[in-house]
Subunit: 484 residues, 2 copies
Amino acid sequence: MDAEEFRKAGKEMVDYVADYLENIRDRRVLSEVEPGYLHKLIPTEAPQEPEKWEDVMSDIERVIMPGVTHWHHPQFHAYFPTANSYPSLVADILSGAIGCIGFSWIASPACTELEVVMMDWLAQMLNLPQGFMSGGKGGGVIQGTASEATLVALLAARSRMVAKLKKTHPEMEEGEILSKLVCYTSDQAHSSVERSALLGAVKCHKVVSNDREEMKGDALKAAIEEDIQKGLLPFFVVATLGTTPSCAFDKTLEIGPVCIEADLWMHVDSAYAGSAFICPEFRPLLDGIEHADSFNFNPHKWLLVNFDCSAMWFKDTTYVVDAFNVDPLYLQHDHQGKVPDYRHWQIPLGRRFRSLKLWFVMRMFGVKGIQEHIRKHITLAHQFEDLIKADSRFKVTHEVTMGLVCFRLKDHPNDVNEALLRRLNDDGRIHLVPSSSKGIYFLRLAVCASRTEPKDMVFAYETISELADEVIAKQANTKFENFH
Amino acid sequence: MDAEEFRKAGKEMVDYVADYLENIRDRRVLSEVEPGYLHKLIPTEAPQEPEKWEDVMSDIERVIMPGVTHWHHPQFHAYFPTANSYPSLVADILSGAIGCIGFSWIASPACTELEVVMMDWLAQMLNLPQGFMSGGKGGGVIQGTASEATLVALLAARSRMVAKLKKTHPEMEEGEILSKLVCYTSDQAHSSVERSALLGAVKCHKVVSNDREEMKGDALKAAIEEDIQKGLLPFFVVATLGTTPSCAFDKTLEIGPVCIEADLWMHVDSAYAGSAFICPEFRPLLDGIEHADSFNFNPHKWLLVNFDCSAMWFKDTTYVVDAFNVDPLYLQHDHQGKVPDYRHWQIPLGRRFRSLKLWFVMRMFGVKGIQEHIRKHITLAHQFEDLIKADSRFKVTHEVTMGLVCFRLKDHPNDVNEALLRRLNDDGRIHLVPSSSKGIYFLRLAVCASRTEPKDMVFAYETISELADEVIAKQANTKFENFH
C-alpha cells in the first residue's frame, strides 16, 4: 500500500467508521456468535503474496462485525461506558502516524510536554489541589488502565514503606518486611485492587462496607488496628469513588485522616465517576482528595477520549520514580531531571502519544460540551430510575448518583433475577451485566453510548418489563407444575 | 464534531499523514526544542467553548511538530526501530471506532478470536514449536510492550514456584519463599528485566556475558549453583535473542537444558530480532526455543505493525491464569473456559482490538513482503558496516547480524567517542544513541525507518566521517594547547 493507496483506503475507512457509528442502532448490540466462530471464516495461515485492499475491507463485515459486541450502541448498558468520539478518533490517526515512543523527553519532547500540560488542564477542570499539578513535587501522567494505575500506586507505596522501615528498623530484612505488608480496600472495590496486591506480593485486607456499600473511616481504622495487633505492617489504602458493582463512594473525608495518622499511602480510584467531577455540582463527591497521595480516573470511560487514557496524579513523584528507575546508558539524555521521563512513572517502557486525544477532545467539545455529556448521561439514568421505581415489581437497590442504575425484581429470589438477566442477554435487544453484594443479586444498567437518548431508556425499560413478565410467568408455571 | 465534520476532518488528517510521511525527509530528524517549549505555545487552561477544527488542525505544525523527534525519518538511527505502515494505520482507525474493551470473550468475541488466530499465523511464520499454538495448553497473546511480557512471565513463574514449594516444603511461609527467589539474566539484558524483578519483589542475578556479549550455559549454571549454596531459590531465567546494546544472542541451546535440569522457567525475549526469524535464513538463531516456557517479540518494532503490539506465547497458560485470576461476577459469562479470557494473561484489565493491525499488515504485505522488509534493513546495515570497515579511523565493535551496527573511533578513548556522539546529535542530520559494555563506549546505528535507502547509509557514514574529523581535530588542538 503506497501513499496514494493509503489516501484512498484511509478515506474509505473514515467513511466506513462514520457509517458504522451513525447507523449502529441497526445492529444487534450483543454478538450472537458461538465460541470458535472466527477461525472457520479465515485461512489457517498468513498469505504468502499481498492481497487486494478491497478483499481486506470487505472482510470487515463478513468476519469481524458478526463477532462484535457494540459498545457504542445506544442499547449497550453493560459494565461502565468506554468513550468514543470523533475528535479522539482523528487525534489517534495523527498519533499513529507520528508513531514516536515517548519513553524519555528527548525521544519526542512534544509527547512528554503536551502530556504535562494536558494533565494540568484536566487537574484544573477537576479542581484538584495545586499539589497534584506540575511545577512542584507533584504531577500527572497518562496510564493505560486503572488497573495499572492501582498497581503503580501500590508499588510506589511499597517502595516508600520499605525505604522507611529500612531506616527505622535496620534489623529487618526486605523479605520479612514484604511478608508483613498489608494494603486495604473496600469489599466493593474493583478486582484489580486485589490483583495488584497479588502481583505486588503483599496481603490485601478487604474492609467490610456499610449497608450503603461505602468504606467508612472507623471500619478501616479497626482493620488497621487488628492487623497491627497481628504484627503486620499496614502501608497502602485504595479508596474508591464510584465502585463498579453499584457506584458507591467510599468516605474519603474520614479515610484520609486515618491514613495520615497511620502514615499510609492513600490512593483514590475514581475510574468511572471521576469524569463527573468536572461539573461543579458533583465536585463535592471528590472532597477528601486533599488527603490522597495519588488519584486516578479514566477519561477513556466517560470523558469522550478513546481507550486507553487513564489519568493519574501523584502528590510526590519521587516515590514512583524510586520504585521504577533502572537507567541504562542508551536511555539517558542531556536534559534529564528538567522534565519528566515518563518511563519511570509506569509499568511499560514504551508509550504512545496519547495526550493528543485529550487535547483534541477538550478543544473540540470545550469544557462546557464535556459537562453537557456527563449531565445528559446522569439525567438519562434518573429517567430510567423513575421508570423502574414506578413499576411495583421492581426496586432500585442503590442510590443513583451517576449514570448507573442498580435494580432487581423485589419479590423474587436471586435465581429469578438471574433468569431475567440471562433472558435479557439471550434476547439481545439490550445488554446488561449483573452484580451482587451482601448476598443480593441485582442487575446493573449503565448509560454508556454517547448516542443514548431518552427513547432508549424507555426502550430498555419496556424490554425489561416484557421479559420480566415472561420470566415471572415461567417461574409461576414451574411452581405450579412442582405443586401438582 | 458531527459525522459530516468527521468525514471532512478525518480525510484531511489522512492526507496530512500521507504528506507527513512522504515528505518526512524535509524535516530535521531530532527535535531542537528546549525543555518547557510547549507550555509557552498553548493556553494554561482548557477552553470553555468548543474551538474550530481549522484552529486545532493548524496547531499541529505550530505546536506539535517542532517538538517531534521523527522516528520514521530515514536518518533516524537511534534505539531500535518502531514500526509504521499504512495498512496498520488504517486498521487502527477501525479499531478505535469499534472501541470495544476485549477483557473477556463475550465483551467482543471477534477481538479475542482474531487475536488467537493471528497469534497462530505469527507462530507459523516463526516456525515456533506446535506447543506454543492454540488448541492445547499453549497459546499466544498480544501484550503492550516487551517490558510487560517479561513482567507477566516473571509473575507466572513466581506463581508456579510458590505453588511448587508450598507442596514440597509446606513448612515454608510465603514471605520466606519470596525473600529467597532469584531470577537470572545476562548483564547485557534490557533494563526492563531488572525492573521486572524489582516490581515482582525478587532478586535478580546478572550473569556475566562472554566477550561476544552472550550469556552461556556454563556461566548460568555456575550462577545458579552459587545461589543455591547461599540458600536462595532460583526460579526464572530471561534469555535475550538480540540484546539492546549490541544485538547479541544468548546461547539458548545451552541455557535451555540448564533450566530444564534445575526446573526453572525460561523466558526468551527477542523484542527486536524476533521479527527476522520469519526469514528461513535467520530462523536458526531461534533454535533452543523448544526449551522455553514463554517467548516474546515485538511486531511493533520490525514487523510493520504500529506500536503497541508485543507478541507473547506460553507453552502452558495455566500458570499465568493462576497468577492473575481474580474473577468477580460482573466479568463472568456463560462461555468461560472454551476460549481465552485474555484479561487473565496480562497486567491491564482492558485491551484494544490490536489484532486488526496484524491482520491488515500480514494480508496487505504478504509473508514475502514482510520478509523483504527485514532483508532490506539487514542489507542496509551491512552496507553501513562495509563503509565503516573501509575507514581506518573506525572499528565495528560487534558482529552485525541484524539491522544494528556498533562502532567507535578505534584509536581514541571513550571521551572522544562520547564527544563524537554528542556532536552528531547536536548537528541533527542523523540521530544515534550510544551504549557501552565492559568499559568500552560505542555508537549504535540502527536501521529504523521503512523509508531508509542505500543513499541514507552513505549519508550517515559521510556525516559521521565529517564530524569525526572535526572532533578529532578539536581533540588534537586541546592536547596541543595543554602541551603548551
